[in-house]
C-alpha cells in the first residue's frame, strides 16, 4: 500500500500566507505606533518639564523681600501656572517634577516643594487615584500622598491598612506610619494581616528616620492576637530598649512560636532579666537546638552558681554535641575553670614532678627568707618566720593547677624556640626572644630581697617567690636538656657555640643547688658536664660584673625603686649579651646570672671583651614579637614619636627583619630618631665611654676605689660641650657639664650625701661563714640588681631632672 501525500489546495496556502503576513504587519504596526506614542509622550513631558521647571524654581526660591521686578515676575508666573493647571497633562508633569525634586533636594527647599504641591492642588489628583478600582493606581496615589507629606490624606489612607490587595495594604501601612507619629500605634492596633520581615524592616526604617519621635510603650502590643504584631513589638522593644515589660517577656518565652520565643529570650538577655532564668530552664527541654543554644547563652549572662547544677545535668544527659559544649562553656562562664582542658594532657608526669619541685623549692625559699630576716631583723622571733613559710606553702597549693598549666605552656614555648634555634644554626642570631621570661617575677623577687619587711608580711609576694623558685627548677631541667642536646650537635672545634649562654643558666643550680635539684630533675642532668670554654665565658661575664661591684657609690634608693627594677635587670641582660662581643645569642633570664664566679682575672676580659655601648631594653621589642607587619609599621611611627636611645638599638636590629617594608621603614625611623636624639645619644655615649675607660683602668688593679673612677670622668674633654649655646643643650648635656664641673672642684655632694654603699652584702658574705649557699645566691642576685641599677642610674639620672 502506497502512502500518498494529502492534497492541500494551493489557494488555502496563499490565504494562510496572507493572513500571517497581515498579522505580522499589524503586530509591527502596533509596536511602532505604541513606541512612537510613548516616546512622543515622554518627549512632550520633557519639553513641558523644561517649560515648567523654571516656574517651579521661581516659586521655590521666591522670597518676600524680592525686588519689584521679581514680584512682578512671580505674579505673572502664578497667573500663567493657573492656566496651565487647567490642563490635566500639565498637572501630571508638575506632579512628576515635584516628586523628582523632593528626592534630590533637602532642607527648606524640600519643605517648600511639599507646600507648593498642595498649593497647586495637585494632591486632589492623588485623592482621586485612591478611589480608582485598579490597585496599581491606588498604590500610586498612596505613594504620592506619602512622599509629598499630605497629612490630610492620613485618614483616607489608614483605611487601606487591612485591604485585601497586598500591595495596596503594604503601601497603606507604610503611609500610615510615615504620615503621623501615632500611625505606628494605629497600625499595630488594627492590622489583621501578617507583617512580612521586609515590611517590618521598612517600617523600622521609617521610625528610625523620624525626628522628635517619642515611641509608644510597645509592651502594649505584646498581648496582640496577631503573632506578627507581637514579634514586631518585641523587635521594637529591643530597638528602643524599653525594659519595662519583663513579666510579658518571661511569659513570651513559653510562646509556641519559635521566632517570638527567640526574640523574647534576646530581650531578656539584653535587658538582664534575672528572674527569667527559672523559666528559661523550664522551657529548655522542649526547645529546638538553636533556641537551646540561645537559652544557654542567656544563662551564661544571667546565671548564678545555683544554675550550675542544671547545666551539669545537661552536660551529663544532653546528646547534642553543640548543646553539650555550650553548657560546658556556660558553666565555665558562671564559674570559671570548672571544666579544665583534659584532652591530650599527660597529667601524671607533670603533676608529680612539679609538686616535688614546688615543695623542695618552697622549703628552700622559706629557709632563705628566714636567713635574710634573721640577718636583717633580729628582733623578730624565728618561730614567726616559720609560720610565714608554712602559710605560704599552704597558700600555694590551690594555685598549683594554674602553675602546672603555666609551666606546660612555658616549656612548650621554650622547646619550640630552641627547636627553631637549632634549625637555624648556620645563621647568626642576635636575639633570642625570651623576654617573656621572668619580668614580673623578677620585680617581686627583688622586692622581697631588697625590702624584707615587705616580704615578711606579704603572702602574695611570697607566692611569687615560690613561683620563681619552682620556675627556676623547671627552667633548669629544660636547659639541662638543651645542654645535652647541644653537646650532641656542636662539635668540639666550634668555639663560638650558639648556646654559650647555657652555663649562665645552669651554673647557678649546678654549682650551688645541684645535689638537691638533680634528684628532682631528669636523669639526663646527671650526664651533663659544663664545657670549659663555657665556664671561661661565664667567668668573663662575671669579671665585668665584679668590676661593677667595685663601684660602691650607688644610691640605695635606686635599689628600692621597684618600678624600675625589672627594666634594670633587663637592661643588664642586654649589657651582658653585648659584652659577649660575639654577636651570638646569649640572652637569658636575670635570675640565671646570680652565681657568677667571683674569682675572675681581669686580664682576660681586657683583651677579648671590651665593654660595649650600653643600651636599654626597648618596650617595642616585645610588641614586635607578636604583631603583624601592619602593626609593626604603626609601632615604628610610635617609636619615632616616643622613642629614645633604647629604641635606636632596637631599630638597628630591625635592619635584618624579614619584611621589606619593616626594614625600609625602620631605617627611615632610625635616621629620624637618631637625628632627634643626637645630642642625648652623644651624651650617653660619652658616659658609656667614661665607664669603659674607667673599667679598663680598673682592670689591672681591681682594688682601686671609686674616686679614681670618678677622676677618670674628670678627664673627659667636655670643652666642646661648654661652648654650645644653652638653648641647644639637652638635659643630658647639662647633667654632664654639671657633673664635670663638680668633679673639677673635687666635690661630689650628690654622691657623698645621697648615695650609700649597697654592695655591703658582698663583704658580709665573705665575713659571715654561717650564711648558707642559698643565701649567697640571693645576695648575688641583689648585686646583679645593684649593677644594673648602677648603669640605669647613670643613664637615667639626667632624665630625673626633666
Amino acid at each position: 500500500m502506497l502512502i500518498s501525500a494529502p492534497k492541500i489546495h494551493t489557494d488555502l496556502l496563499w490565504d494562510l500566507t496572507i493572513l500571517f503576513s497581515g498579522l505580522g504587519i499589524l503586530f509591527f504596526a502596533f509596536v511602532f505606533i505604541f513606541r512612537n506614542r510613548l516616546s512622543a509622550k515622554s518627549l512632550k513631558i520633557a519639553r513641558q518639564k523644561k517649560i515648567l521647571a523654571p516656574i517651579i524654581s521661581n516659586f521655590l526660591f521666591y522670597e518676600t523681600d524680592a525686588t519689584k521686578e521679581e514680584n512682578y515676575e512671580y505674579i505673572k508666573l502664578k497667573i500663567e501656572i493657573r492656566d496651565l493647571l487647567k490642563i490635566q497633562f500639565n498637572r501630571l508633569v508638575l506632579t512628576e517634577i515635584l516628586l523628582d525634586l523632593q528626592k534630590d533636594l533637602s532642607g527648606d527647599s524640600r519643605n517648600r516643594i511639599f507646600k507648593l504641591y498642595q498649593n497647586l492642588e495637585l494632591h486632589l489628583d492623588a485623592f482621586k487615584k485612591l478611589r480608582n478600582w485598579r490597585w496599581e493606581i491606588v498604590s500610586k496615589g498612596i505613594l504620592e500622598l506619602t512622599q509629598m507629606r499630605v497629612l490630610a490624606a492620613y485618614g483616607f489612607i489608614k483605611k487601606f491598612i487591612n485591604d485585601k490587595r497586598g500591595v495596596v495594604r503594604k503601601q497603606a501601612q507604610i503611609a500610615t506610619v510615615t504620615l503621623k507619629h501615632e500611625g505606628i500605634s494605629y497600625f499595630l492596633d488594627t492590622t489583621r494581616y501578617g507583617i512580612s520581615e521586609w515590611q517590618q524592616l521598612k517600617l523600622l526604617d521609617v521610625l528610625r528616620n523620624f525626628e522628635d519621635f517619642t515611641p509608644p510603650r510597645f509592651k502594649a502590643w505584646l498581648t496582640s492576637k496577631n503573632r506578627d504584631v507581637v514579634l514586631f513589638a518585641l523587635r521594637l522593644i529591643k530597638h528602643y530598649n524599653q525594659n519595662d515589660a519583663n513579666k510579658s517577656l518571661i511569659e513570651l518565652v513559653k510562646h509556641k512560636n519559635d521566632q517570638i520565643k527567640s526574640e523574647a529570650i534576646q530581650c531578656i538577655k539584653d535587658f538582664g532579666v534575672f528572674e527569667a532564668v527559672a523559666t528559661l530552664k523550664s522551657v529548655f527541654r522542649n526547645c529546638r537546638v538553636d533556641i537551646k543554644l540561645q537559652i544557654l547563652d542567656t544563662i551564661s549572662s544571667l546565671g548564678k552558681e545555683e544554675d550550675i547544677e542544671f547545666l551539669q545535668t545537661l552536660v551529663s544527659k544532653e546528646s547534642n554535641f553543640l548543646v553539650k559544649s555550650k553548657a560546658i562553656s556556660t558553666i565555665n562562664t558562671i564559674a570559671p575553670e570548672t571544666y579544665v582542658p583534659t584532652e591530650g594532657i599527660d597529667k601524671n608526669i607533670t603533676t608529680k614532678s612539679f609538686e616535688t619541685n614546688v615543695e623542695d623549692n618552697s622549703t628552700q625559699l622559706s629557709e632563705v627568707m628566714n636567713n635574710n630576716e634573721l640577718n636583717k631583723d633580729d628582733s623578730l622571733p624565728a618561730s614567726d618566720h616559720k609560720e610565714d613559710s608554712i602559710d605560704m606553702q599552704d597558700h600555694l597549693d590551690p594555685e598549683l593547677e594554674d602553675e602546672i598549666i603555666f609551666d606546660l605552656c612555658f616549656m612548650e614555648e621554650l622547646e619550640d624556640i630552641l627547636t627553631e634555634f637549632n634549625e637555624s644554626e648556620d645563621q647568626e642570631v642576635n636575639y633570642l626572644p625570651l623576654d617573656f621570661l621572668p619580668m614580673v617575677s623578677e620585680v617581686e623577687e627583688l622586692k622581697s630581697t631588697v625590702d624584707p619587711q615587705t616580704t615578711e608580711n606579704s603572702n602574695v609576694e611570697s607566692k611569687e617567690i615560690l613561683e620563681e623558685e619552682s620556675f627556676k627548677v623547671e627552667l633548669e631541667a629544660i636547659l639541662d636538656k638543651i645542654k645535652a642536646h647541644d653537646q650532641d650537635v656542636v662539635t668540639e672545634d666550634e668555639k663560638d657555640s650558639e648556646l654559650e649562654f647555657l652555663p649562665l643558666v645552669v651554673e647557678s643550680n649546678v654549682e650551688e643547688d645541684s645535689e638537691d635539684l638533680i634528684v628532682t630533675t631528669d636523669e639526663d642532668i646527671l650526664a651533663m658536664e659544663v664545657k670549659e670554654e663555657e665556664v671561661i665565658k661565664e667567668q668573663r661575664i662575671s669579671n665585668l660584673y665584679n668590676k661593677f661591684l667595685e663601684v660602691d657609690w650607688l644610691p640605695k634608693q635606686e635599689l628600692e625603686n621597684s618600678e624600675t627594677i625589672a627594666q634594670k635587670s633587663i637592661d643588664w641582660m642586654a649589657f651582658v649579651n653585648e659584652s659577649e662581643g660575639t654577636g651570638i645569642m646569649t640572652q637569658t633570664s636575670a635570675s640565671n646570672t646570680s652565681t657568677w664566679d667571683e674569682n675572675y682575672t681581669g686580664d682576660e676580659d681586657k683583651d677579648d671583651n671590651p665593654i660595649p655601648d650600653f643600651y636599654g631594653f626597648s618596650i617595642f621589642q616585645e610588641l614586635f614579637r607578636t604583631c603583624d607587619v601592619e602593626s609593626k609599621l604603626i609601632l615604628l611611627d610610635e617609636i619615632l614619636a616616643v622613642g629614645d636611645e633604647k629604641e635606636v638599638n632596637f631599630l638597628k636590629t630591625l635592619k635584618d627583619d624579614s619584611d621589606k617594608k619593616v626594614r625600609a621603614k625602620s631605617e627611615i625611623i632610625l635616621k629620624e630618631l637618631q637625628a632627634l636624639l643626637s645630642p642625648e645619644i652623644e651624651a650617653e655615649e660619652s658616659i658609656a665611654q667614661i665607664q669603659t675607660n674607667e673599667l679598663e683602668a680598673q682592670q689591672p688593679n681591681l682594688d682601686k676605689e671609686k674616686p679614681e673612677s670618678i677622676s677618670q670622668i674628670n678627664t673627659i674633654d667636655v670643652s666642646t660641650l661648654n661652648k654650645e649655646e644653652d638653648s641647644l643643650k639637652s638635659l643630658e648635656f647639662c647633667f654632664l657639664n654639671g657633673l664635670i664641673s663638680e668633679n673639677d672642684n673635687n666635690q661630689m655632694p650628690q654622691f657623698e650625701l645621697d648615695f650609700e654603699l649597697v654592695g655591703t652584702p658582698i663583704e658580709d658574705k665573705e665575713d659571715n661563714q654561717e650564711i648558707n649557699e642559698i643565701n649567697k645566691k640571693e645576695v648575688n642576685k641583689k648585686e646583679e640588681k645593684v649593677l644594673s641599677s648602677f648603669i640605669r642610674n647613670i643613664i637615667s639620672f639626667p632624665k630625673k631632672f626633666k
Binding site: 518639564k49 517651579i56 524654581s57 526660591f61 517634577i97 523628582d100 534630590d104 533636594l105 532642607g107
Partner: protein, 123 residues
C-alpha cells in the same frame, strides 16, 4: 561687581535647572553642562572660577573631570563635587585627586551656595 563664573556639571536636568536658578540668584554666572563631554568642551574655551560637578555623569565622570582639571590642565580651580549618599569611595577618590569640597544628595541649594562662596573666598 563682577560676577564669578561657575561651571555646573549635572546630568539631571531638573536639578541642574533648579540649582542654576538658585546660583544665578546668588550672584553667579552659571554655565550648565549636562555631561562630561560638555564640561571638557567648555574647559577648552573658558576657565571658570569654580566648578560644581556631580560625580556620576555620562561619558566623563566627576572623578575623571577632577583628574583632567588637576593633572592635564594643571589648574587649581576649586572643585565642589555632588554625590549621592553612600558613595564614600568615590568621594574619597575625588578628595585624593584634588576636590576641594563635597556635598551629598539630596542637595540643599542654600548650603551649596554657602559652600561655593566659601571656596571662592579661599582663593
Amino acid at each position: 561687581m563682577i560676577k564669578k563664573n561657575l561651571l555646573l556639571a549635572e546630568d539631571d536636568e531638573l536639578l541642574a535647572s533648579l540649582l542654576d536658578y538658585r546660583l544665578q540668584k546668588g550672584g553667579y554666572n552659571v554655565h550648565l553642562a549636562k555631561d562630561g563631554r560638555d564640561v571638557k568642551e567648555y574647559l577648552k574655551t573658558a576657565t571658570p572660577d569654580i566648578i560644581v560637578s556631580d560625580i556620576m555623569m555620562p561619558y566623563f565622570s566627576g572623578i575623571e573631570l577632577i583628574d583632567y582639571v588637576r593633572n592635564q590642565l594643571n589648574s587649581k580651580i576649586p572643585i565642589i563635587i555632588i554625590s549621592s549618599a553612600g558613595n564614600e569611595e568615590n568621594v574619597l577618590s575625588a578628595f585624593e585627586l584634588g576636590a576641594n569640597d563635597f556635598i551629598s544628595k539630596p542637595v540643599s541649594p542654600s548650603e551649596l551656595l554657602v559652600r561655593v562662596g566659601r571656596e571662592l573666598n579661599k582663593t
